[in-house]
C-alpha cells in the first residue's frame, strides 16, 4: 500500500471563493442543481446548501456578528468526505460497494452500489447522498482516478489560498501542528485540529483546523461507529423474543379453568 494520503483543510485562510466546488464538479462531471436554475438558499453566500450526490465539496459560510453588526467574523469551511480510517459507511454497506483504496481513502464503486442507502444513515457527517443520475450513493473519491495517475485532487489543486492541502497524512499532520502553534503564538488561542489523531474514528484522513466548536461548523463533536449498538441491540431483541416465546408457551400450555368457564359462557 502506498502511504496514506488525505486533505488538511485550514479553515482560517479560506476566502469562500468556491473554486474547489467548481473544480470538483468539472473533474467529476457532476451536474448542476435544477439544470443550473438555482434558488437562493437564504443562508449567507451559500447556494449549494450541503454535501450530496452531486455536491462532493461544499463551502460553508458561518456569519458570527453581534446584533448591531459592529463586531463579528466569518467562518468559512470547505466541507468534504472525511475519509475516516474506521469508516462508518464502509462498515455497514451490504454490497461491498464501499472500499478502502491503496491510498487509505474511502471510495464508493458506483457499478456495485444498489442504492440501499444504508451508508447515508451511517455516515456521522452527512456526506453521502444518492446521485439521481446514477441511482447510486455517491461522494468525494479523493479523486481516486487522479491519484492513480500521479496527480493531486482537483479541489486542492484549484484552491488559491492553500486552505485545502493534499499530501501524505504524516506530512499534513506536521504542517497542521505547526500552523496551530503559529496561530496560538499570534494570539488566536482558539485554533485546534479536528480529526487529526486516532481518537476520532481511527483518524480522519481529511482533517480540519478550526477556531470554534465543531457544532458551529456543523460537525459532530463526538462521531461514533454504527456498530456500537449492534451487540446490545441484538441481545435486547433476543430477550424480547424469549419473553414473547414464554408468554406463548404459558398461554398455550396451561389453559386454566377460567378459559373453560369462558368457553361455556360462549
Amino acid at each position: 500500500m502506498a502511504e496514506p494520503m488525505g486533505f488538511y483543510t485550514d479553515t482560517t485562510v479560506c476566502i469562500g471563493c468556491k473554486a474547489c466546488e467548481v473544480a470538483c464538479k468539472e473533474w467529476n462531471q457532476l451536474p448542476s442543481t435544477n439544470g443550473g436554475l438555482n434558488t437562493l438558499s437564504g443562508d449567507s453566500y451559500d447556494n449549494t446548501r450541503r454535501l450530496d450526490g452531486i455536491h462532493w465539496r461544499h463551502v460553508k459560510f458561518i456569519e458570527q456578528f453581534t446584533d448591531d453588526r459592529k463586531d463579528g467574523r466569518w467562518l468559512l469551511m470547505s466541507d468534504v468526505c472525511k475519509h475516516c480510517v474506521n469508516a462508518p459507511c464502509l462498515e455497514v454497506c451490504p454490497t461491498g460497494a464501499i472500499i478502502r483504496t491503496e491510498f487509505d481513502t474511502v471510495v464508493i464503486q458506483s457499478d456495485t452500489c444498489n442504492g440501499c442507502r444504508d451508508c447515508i444513515a451511517a455516515c456521522p457527517f452527512g456526506v453521502i447522498e444518492v446521485n439521481p443520475a446514477s441511482g447510486t450513493a455517491q461522494k468525494c473519491t479523493l479523486c481516486y482516478d487522479r491519484l492513480q495517475g500521479g496527480m493531486e485532487p482537483a479541489c486542492s489543486k484549484a484552491c488559491p489560498t492553500q486552505s485545502i492541502q493534499f499530501g501524505t497524512i504524516r506530512d499534513l499532520r506536521n504542517r497542521a501542528q505547526k500552523r496551530v502553534e503559529q496561530l496560538h503564538q499570534t494570539g488566536e488561542k482558539r485554533a485546534y485540529l479536528y480529526g487529526a489523531d486516532e481518537k476520532m474514528l481511527g483518524g480522519l484522513n481529511s482533517f480540519y483546523l478550526l477556531v470554534d466548536k465543531p457544532e458551529v461548523y456543523g460537525l459532530p463533536p463526538d462521531p461514533k461507529m454504527p456498530t456500537r449498538n449492534l451487540k446490545s441491540g441484538s441481545w435486547f431483541s433476543v430477550f424480547g423474543a424469549l419473553a414473547v416465546g414464554l408468554m406463548g408457551i404459558i398461554n398455550f400450555r396451561n389453559r386454566g379453568a377460567g378459559e373453560h368457564d369462558q368457553e361455556e359462557r360462549r
Binding site: C116, R117, P124, N229, G233, M247, R253, E259
Partner: protein, 300 residues
C-alpha cells in the same frame, strides 16, 4: 445549532419512506405469524392446528411482499442480488456485523422455510396433492426441525430491522439499543392480532383463539413497557418527539394501539365483536408505531 442533544444530529436522512414503513409492517407480520404458528404447533393441542396453519398462510405472502417492497425501494432494483453475491468476484457477500447484509440472507432463507410450511399447510388442509408435504406438518422430527429453524429465522426477520436502524448514526434510531426489542415484541402483538381477526372472520371457536387473545394482551402490555423504556433510553434526544410525531405516537400507538385494547380486554366482555375491535386496534397501533419511528428520525 450550537447545542445538540447528540452527535447523531449531523448525519443525513437516508430517505427511507412509505415502502420501508410497509416493509417493516409486513416483515414483522411475516416473522411474527410464523413464530406464533410454530409455538402453536409445538406447544398447542391438536385441535389448535388450523390456527397454526393460518399463521403459515399469512407468513408466506407477507414475506414475498416484503421482498418486493425492499427491491422497489432500491435506487437500482435490478442490483438486488448484489446484497447476496459480490458483483465483481461472484463470491457470496456476507458481513456479519452489518444487519442489512445478514438480514438479506435471513429474508431469503426465511422465505424458503415459509414456503415449505405454506405448502405443508395446504397439504394438511387437503388443498394440495403432495405426499411428502405431510411430513412437514406435526407430529414428526422433520416438522419440528423445520419449525424451530424457520421460527428462529422468523424471529430474526421480525427484529433485525430495529437493530438495523440502531446500527446507523441517525438521531432516535441510533440513540437507543431497544428498537430491535420493540420491533420483536410488536411483531408478536400485530401477528397475534391479525390471526385473531382472520380466525374470527372464519368463525372459528377453538380454544386456541382465546389463548392467542390472552397472550396478545400480555404482549401488548410488554410492548407498552418496552416503548416507555425506549423513550427513557433516548435521554435528551427524546426532545425530538416533543413534536407532531410525539402526538401521533401518544394517541396513535399508546392510546389507540395499547391502552384501549388492554382496557377492552380487561373489561372481559366476551363476544366476537370485542375480540375483533381489540385486534384491529392493535394492528393500527403497530402500523403507526413503525410510521412514527421511520419518519420522525428523518425529519430531525
Amino acid at each position: 445549532m450550537n447545542t445538540v442533544p447528540s452527535s447523531t444530529y449531523f448525519s443525513a436522512p437516508p430517505e427511507w419512506g412509505w415502502l420501508i414503513v410497509f416493509y417493516f409492517f409486513f416483515g414483522g407480520l411475516a416473522g411474527g405469524t410464523y413464530f406464533l404458528a410454530v409455538l402453536i404447533d409445538l406447544f398447542g393441542r391438536a385441535e389448535d392446528r388450523p390456527l397454526a396453519r393460518l399463521g403459515y398462510y399469512i407468513a408466506f405472502p407477507c414475506v414475498v411482499l416484503s421482498g418486493l417492497l425492499l427491491t422497489l425501494d432500491l435506487g437500482r432494483p435490478l442490483r438486488l442480488w448484489h446484497m447476496l453475491i459480490e458483483s465483481n468476484t461472484w463470491r457470496p457477500m456476507f458481513k456479519l456485523w452489518s444487519p442489512m447484509s445478514v438480514g438479506s440472507w435471513a429474508l431469503l432463507i426465511f422465505g424458503i422455510f415459509s414456503l415449505i410450511s405454506f405448502l405443508g399447510a395446504l397439504v394438511e388442509d387437503d388443498r394440495l396433492e403432495w405426499p411428502a408435504g405431510r411430513r412437514v406438518r406435526p407430529p414428526g422430527v422433520l416438522s419440528g426441525l423445520i419449525g424451530v429453524i424457520g421460527g428462529l429465522f422468523g424471529f430474526y426477520v421480525a427484529g433485525y430491522t430495529g437493530v438495523l436502524l440502531a446500527v446507523t448514526n441517525r438521531p432516535i434510531w441510533s440513540d437507543t439499543p431497544l428498537l430491535g426489542m420493540l420491533f420483536v415484541v410488536s411483531a408478536a402483538s400485530i401477528s397475534a392480532a391479525l390471526m385473531i381477526l382472520l380466525a374470527q372472520r372464519s368463525r372459528w371457536t377453538m380454544p386456541g383463539v382465546l389463548a392467542l387473545h390472552r397472550m396478545d394482551a400480555w404482549v401488548v402490555a410488554l410492548e407498552f413497557v418496552v416503548l416507555i423504556a425506549v423513550m427513557i433510553s433516548l435521554g435528551p434526544v427524546f426532545r425530538a418527539w416533543l413534536s407532531a410525531w410525539g402526538l401521533l405516537l401518544f394517541f396513535g400507538v399508546i392510546v389507540v394501539g395499547m391502552l384501549l385494547p388492554l382496557w377492552l380486554y380487561w373489561r372481559k366482555q366476551s363476544g366476537d365483536l370485542n375480540l375483533t375491535t381489540e385486534a384491529a386496534l392493535v394492528l393500527v397501533g403497530g402500523f403507526i408505531l413503525r410510521l412514527v419511528i421511520v419518519f420522525s428520525a428523518q425529519g430531525v
